[in-house]
């Protein structure tokens, strides 16, 4: 059906004025930077919260200067109360998992680079894109506001298990309006992510440039695409869960609360609900969520490694299919968070097998990276160091999964520091390394300036060694049975372990402080860095064929056309050992696929 009217080719007009350029921007690049900036704020906040936690665990009676003024009930005189510790823990987890790990690698870099890498002028729905960021920002503000209400933030963890999270303030401090704000924030976050995923999927399917078949998209584009498919379905389940939780809390329903509960001497007026229902709904979202957190990093690291190695991966197709398998399997494993939850023990075995099976595509991915490093010529710089560090962390974090995937071993290791070590290594370190690698790699393109390489490498070495010092000992603590989510360790059992905790805390402070080097580098380079060329890394994908920073419509008046995949490295090109994706020149000396 043809329209009679002629439509403008641009998806939106060039931005005019400060508000349109920097605030309510429709430009995917500005939106990507806004998401990244939000993630940066959230990560520093989350890190400071973790410092308070680590400080309190080792020096429980210490008066932390200034904290008494910010939280007079939670930390009177600067001494953290048990409930405030749990508030810190809850907000740390919520900020990090949602506002950092779902934002930066996916919404941040994905928004910025997916349209460019497929040769599009912008996302398919720029208005929805803008709405998705602003919804996420409002969600962030709602969440953080819980710090400033009299009763404080919730104490039920980022997992908010019912009935603790559902019965209301009878169950403890922060579980009144604090928990309400948490649930509302997460519900809003879901809406923002759904709008974002919608954009990513439609854009990838329909706005690719001529010659850009799906298999010619860069691996990180594939990662963003697969992540957005997972996110679409996962957040579509979390949103109903949060709504049902809010109804239990505010409208007297009993989705998650059974009858006969006596909380703080008060018999609760609920009946018929199921606490396990919350866990099923939450983890049905929650497990795919962790793959949402890691897959973009897998994609970014692959992208950076290929450029740095000056050769393609052994097989990009295998990498892509492995990511797809992980995405597919991620829907079948959620019960491994619930092995000892009281669900049918036979289900536990059923969940254990796909969980163990995910090891296979994860191993394929790791072996492809390792195997590709053979015979390479790795150019070492901050970006490639963080990418290589990611591979190391992915292995370390992954092998502890071998243990937790088995229900019999989980009987002993569940809810110990072993679990905390596992997920911090894969999410709290590996995924962050992916973000950092992407930052060092793409900063020149986004800002037009180079970051300081010396500072970048100092940042890497302290962070790489430091995060191993922090999180490797968590596994040892778990093996002896150190329970998690304890605000203090008050008994004889724990006394011999305190030196380990001290070591961890000190390592955490040093490593955290080193992140200020990164922050300084980021800000200083933005204004004073060396001017960056169009293609400082001699890379092939489409983002390196446009100016640094790109114009508002990415490709100007050109419509890019691509002629092959973006892995033409180690070949004889007119510009060197590579041929750009949009170059029609003949590729000599290519690779067996």
């Amino acid at each position: 059906m043809e329209d009679a009217a002629v439509q403008p080719v641009q998806v939106h007009a060039p931005p005019e004025g400060f508000i349109r350029k920097f605030v309510f921007s429709l430009d995917h690049k500005m939106i990507g930077k806004q998401y990244y900036g939000l993630a940066l704020m959230a990560v520093f906040m989350g890190m400071v919260l973790s410092w308070f936690m680590r400080f309190h665990l080792v020096w429980p009676d210490a008066k932390i200067p200034g904290l008494g003024a910010i939280a007079p009930t939670g930390a009177p005189g600067g001494v953290i109360t048990p409930e405030y510790y749990l508030s810190l823990l809850t907000m740390h987890g919520t900020l990090m998992v949602f506002f950092v790990l779902t934002n930066a690698p996916f919404a941040g870099f994905g928004n910025y680079f997916l349209p460019i890498q497929i040769g599009a002028e912008d996302m398919a729905f720029p208005r929805f894109n803008m709405m998705s960021f602003w919804t996420t920002l409002v969600a962030f503000i709602v969440l953080v506001s819980a710090f400033f209400i009299p009763d404080g933030p919730p104490i039920s963890g980022w997992t908010a298990y019912a009935p603790l999270s559902a019965v209301g303030k009878d169950a403890g401090p922060g579980l009144g309006w604090g928990q309400n704000l948490w649930a509302m924030s997460i519900a809003l976050f879901c809406v923002g992510q759904l709008l974002g995923s919608l954009n990513f999927i439609a854009t990838t399917l329909d706005l690719r440039a001529k010659g850009m078949t799906l298999m010619r998209m860069p691996i990180c584009t594939w990662a963003w695409f697969i992540t957005s498919c997972i996110g679409l379905l996962a957040f579509a389940v979390l949103l109903p869960a949060c709504l049902l939780l809010l109804l239990d809390r505010m409208a007297g329903t009993s989705f998650f609360i059974p009858s006969g509960l006596v909380v703080s001497d008060r018999l609760q007026n609920h009946a018929g609900g199921s606490p396990l229902l919350w866990q099923h709904l939450f983890w049905f979202f929650g497990h795919p969520e962790v793959y949402i957190a890691i897959l973009p990093a897998v994609g970014i690291v692959s992208h950076v490694l290929i450029t740095s190695m000056r050769k393609p991966l052994l097989s990009a197709k295998v990498m892509i299919y492995s990511m797809m398998s992980i995405g597919f399997l991620s829907w079948m494993v959620w019960g491994h968070h619930m092995f000892v939850s009281g669900m049918n023990p036979f289900s536990s075995l059923l969940f254990s097998f796909p969980t163990l099976t995910i090891t296979i595509p994860a191993t394929i991915i790791t072996l492809i990276w390792l195997g590709s490093l053979f015979g390479a010529n790795i150019q070492i710089n901050s970006a490639s160091l963080f990418a290589l560090g990611f591979v190391s962390m992915f292995v370390s974090g992954g092998v502890s999964g071998f243990f937790l995937a088995q229900p019999s071993i989980d009987i002993y290791l569940h809810a110990t520091y072993f679990v905390v070590g596992h997920f911090h290594m894969v999410m709290g370190v590996a995924a962050i390394f992916g973000i950092l690698s992407g930052t060092y790699f793409w900063f020149p393109k986004m800002s037009g300036r180079m970051m300081n390489e010396t500072l970048g490498q100092i940042h890497f070495w302290i962070t790489f060694v430091g995060t191993y010092c922090i999180f490797m000992p968590f596994h040892y603590l778990g093996l002896v049975g150190n329970v998690r989510r304890y605000s203090s360790f008050v008994d004889d059992f724990m006394a011999p372990l305190m030196p380990v905790h001290k070591f961890i805390s000190i390592a955490a402070f040093i490593t955290g402080a080193a992140q200020l080097i990164f922050l300084y580098n980021l800000i200083h380079s933005r204004f004073r860095g060396k001017i960056a060329p169009e293609n400082p890394w001699n890379a092939t994908s489409l983002e390196w064929s446009i100016p640094s920073p790109p114009p508002w419509n990415n490709f100007g008046d050109k419509h890019p056309v691509v002629f092959h995949d973006p892995y033409q490295y180690g070949v004889k090109g007119s510009k060197g050992d590579f041929v750009m994706q949009d170059s029609p020149e003949q590729v000599v000396g290519g690779w067996d696929k």
Binding site: P82, L86, I155, Y161, A171, G172, S259, G260, L261, V263, D265, S274, P275, L276, M309, K311, L313, L314, V340, G342, P345, F346, S348, L356, T357, T359, I360, T363, I364, L367, L370, L373, F374, G375, A376, N377, Q379, I380, L388, V391, V395, S396, V399, S400, F402, F403, A405, Q406, S408, I409, Y468, Y476, L477, L479, V480, G481, R485, F489, D491, G570
Partner: protein
């Protein structure tokens, strides 16, 4: 810098492996009848995961050491065998390994969850509530009195909400703050949650199970060594979660009988 990466990574790998290889952090001694299967599974997994960890990190270290910033002008080449070799390795080695772990590990799980308690197992009820565990023995009649949540009165030590005035079975129920049991006798522990989710964890028993409000869950086990062991709550239950614990006392049979008689007299 590439060589430095290789060296640092080797050091990290060796330092990480050292405490494991020298058994510096191990589970406390197993006092259960089913626990050895779990411990064996854990040891097998540690060996395989350990080998995978060390192997992968050393390979990464070596490749970065050898193949970074090369100045010799040689061409970049692919690993012989290519992606096919990597996929085959993943399927054959890792696939077999993890599935073997899964299949073999079933028995340890089944020992805990797929066997029914023996008919003569001693029934004890455990109640978890913010922030303490209480235990109830059925007394001479061998039956538990019904629970009435509206009658719970902590001030008068009616933790379970019993109504001995109206319920005959409740009159001889024995309520204690410690889980005292005889050695080598199977215990059938009934789990009841009073308010929110909690969990029962005794490291030495190799047992962990959530208390779920509204669900009747239970565990059965046999303790094989006398002594005093910690029961800790492992499901976040509120501000007192860190301090929510009780003790498991395993006594010789005659000492237990005396203890129970003393407690009955006190009720």
């Amino acid at each position: 810098m590439g060589k430095f990466f290789g060296v640092i990574l080797v050091l990290i790998t060796l330092v990480s492996a050292y405490p494991i290889v020298t058994h510096k952090f191990v589970q406390p001694v197993d006092i259960s009848t089913h626990g050895h299967a779990i411990d064996e599974q854990l040891a097998d997994t540690m060996a395989e995961a350990g080998l995978a960890f060390v192997g992968a990190q050393l390979l990464l270290a070596f490749f970065v050491w050898k193949f970074s910033n090369r100045k010799d002008g040689s061409k970049v080449v692919h690993l012989p065998g290519g992606a096919k070799l990597m996929v085959a390795t993943a399927f054959i080695f890792i696939g077999t390994e993890v599935l073997a772990l899964g299949v073999l590990g079933q028995k340890a799980w089944a020992d805990v969850y797929f066997t029914a308690p023996k008919p003569d197992a001693m029934q004890i009820q455990a109640q978890a509530g913010q922030f303490a565990f209480y235990f109830r023995y059925p007394g001479a009649d061998g039956r538990f009195g019904p629970l009435h949540p509206d009658k719970i009165d902590e001030g008068n030590q009616n933790y379970f909400g019993l109504d001995p005035a109206n319920d005959v079975e409740a009159r001889d129920d024995i309520v204690t703050a410690e889980l005292t049991i005889p050695i080598n006798r199977e215990i059938h522990l009934l789990l009841h949650a009073k308010d929110v989710g909690h969990s029962f964890y005794v490291r030495e028993l190799r047992l962990q199970q959530d208390f779920v409000p509204g669900l009747d869950l239970s565990l059965h086990f046999t303790a094989t060594k006398t002594g005093k062991y910690e029961i800790v709550c492992t499901q976040l239950c509120g501000l007192g979660h860190y301090n929510m614990k009780a003790y498991l006392n395993v006594l010789a049979q005659d000492e237990f009988d005396k203890w129970l008689k003393d407690r009955a007299a006190e009720q």
